[in-house]
Subunit: 296 residues, 2 copies
């Protein structure tokens, strides 16, 4: 733990990339094109925050590395698929992602739709495999949890609300609910996956869920802050996109200072809740702080 959190995240990110690289094996022929697009998205880096949360949560319960890496890779596949589909012209219409052309720009729209579908599908294949966990009950709990977090009660539902909200001004309760579904549900599952793999008791699961809900919201507030304060180079995409479009954001509703304070207190609450885990939870506390201090 002597190492800085961003170094630890980079190293874990490399492990996740290697896991994804092995899972998304290139194929010859025309079929290979969709896998190429999936690899373009999934191997392009990013912070790997969600799989890091899975790895750090799993470490609390001494889960063996391979299972945690595979569960983290499945979560990252879902995250990448959501970015590919969100970037499509009919959705957010974003040409850039992580400093380079988004998938439908680098390939084409049809390939991007299929690449998203392929990643979404493969996430469940990865979780169903015995290499993720020997115990079938654990694998099923992971699959059930990931499907709920990603579906209409989670990410897909949140994205629908987000699109519907384009023509109305949301209040704080409404954008908090939106965030909970659109990004919160998957972040929460990322933490819960570690607890599932580690057969954690109910108390530990509740503590982790509480942590995840708080950092999930803080993450979104930090995103809104970066959208106002960040530079294009840091973000790898145009800044000010959300404020330009008159979209309700936490910064708009709380003010710059208010948003910073809210994010700070959420992180404090997240870390306080981890006390029962003792020094083992230091890594998760560091991620929480990283989330609000990051510059991209």
């Amino acid at each position: 733990m002597s190492d800085a959190i961003d170094n630890r995240m980079r190293r874990a990110g490399d492990e996740i990339t290697a896991t994804l690289d092995a899972l998304l094996a290139p194929a010859p022929g025309a079929r290979g094109r969709v896998i190429e697009a999936m690899r373009y998205s999934a191997l392009s880096g990013g912070k790997r925050l969600r799989p890091y949360l899975t790895l750090a949560s799993a470490a609390l319960f001494d889960v063996e590395r391979q299972g945690a890496l595979r569960a983290g890779a499945a979560v990252e596949m879902i995250h990448c698929y959501s970015l590919i589909h969100d970037d499509l012209p009919a959705m957010d219409d974003s040409d850039m992602r992580r400093g380079r052309p988004s998938v439908h720009k680098a390939f084409d729209e049809a390939t991007a739709i299929l690449a998203g579908d392929g990643l979404l599908t493969q996430a469940f294949e990865v979780l169903a495999h015995p290499d993720t966990a020997e115990d079938p009950a654990i694998r099923l709990e992971l699959i059930a949890g990931l499907s709920v977090a990603s579906g209409t009660a989670g990410m897909v539902g949140g994205q629908m609300i987000d699109i519907a909200a384009e023509n109305e001004v949301l209040d704080l309760a409404a954008i908090t609910e939106l965030q909970k579904l659109k990004t919160g549900a998957l972040i929460e599952f990322s933490c819960r996956a570690g607890a599932i793999l580690g057969r954690a008791d109910e108390t530990s699961r509740l503590a982790l869920t509480n942590y995840a809900v708080n950092i999930g919201l803080a993450f979104q507030i930090a995103d809104d802050l970066l959208d106002v304060e960040g530079t294009k180079e840091q973000l790898g995409k145009p800044v000010g996109q959300d404020t330009d479009m008159d979209k309700a954001t936490f910064v708009k509703l709380l003010g710059l200072e208010g948003a910073r304070n809210k994010a700070g207190s959420l992180i404090e609450e997240a870390c306080d809740g981890l006390a029962p885990f003792g020094p083992k939870a230091g890594d998760l506390m560091d991620v929480a702080r990283f989330i609000v201090e990051r510059r991209s």
Copy 2:
């Protein structure tokens, strides 16, 4: 079995629709819109061929009805998602499906993309639930099988090949391979799901796989024949679409008579392989014949 196959299929189709209706419960608020679109697609009827194959295969092994209906509903969710995404402007750009506007026309493109994503995700949620099968190993085998059949080694891969082939002329081997992935893999899984639920032995599984491969190919040939011979009213979509676009079809490569003969001999082979199951397999034989005799 005294009843005609189309009547039996209609009744089973109603059961599947009722199952999907219960699984896709409407929700209030903006989130409800994506569920509405999922219901628009999944409850709109269609032949329900794939779930019927699951029910008929499951009946060979006396599987209890609820599990077979849920597995069939999961397969149909995957089928419906694939139709929604295939109809999108960036893919086949089809405005009509089953005699009414396709999802992106009845709703909008963004909602259609999300509705497809939602159905794909929920299929795995349905299979992971204990109501599908008490035995965790059975549920995991269903999930693994469905994800492979739907992903880059199956449906998604086949769709990618299909798109890439728009500018080249495929030979018989190539369109057979394309069909195997694009439609064959899911039809094969539909039959295999019954065997998985029924803990069938290897011999029975092989017999069913052989049946499924043959009817899958026959189904595609019958589709190509309908595209040439059918009327718009029968199909619920414009006819002659494939031949207009200079696309390689089985009819083009084999001729009308050759295609009819090929479909007939595949069905014969499919039925012959079911002999070991005895009279119980009558239903599956009837479906096989229905596939080539249908007029829509």
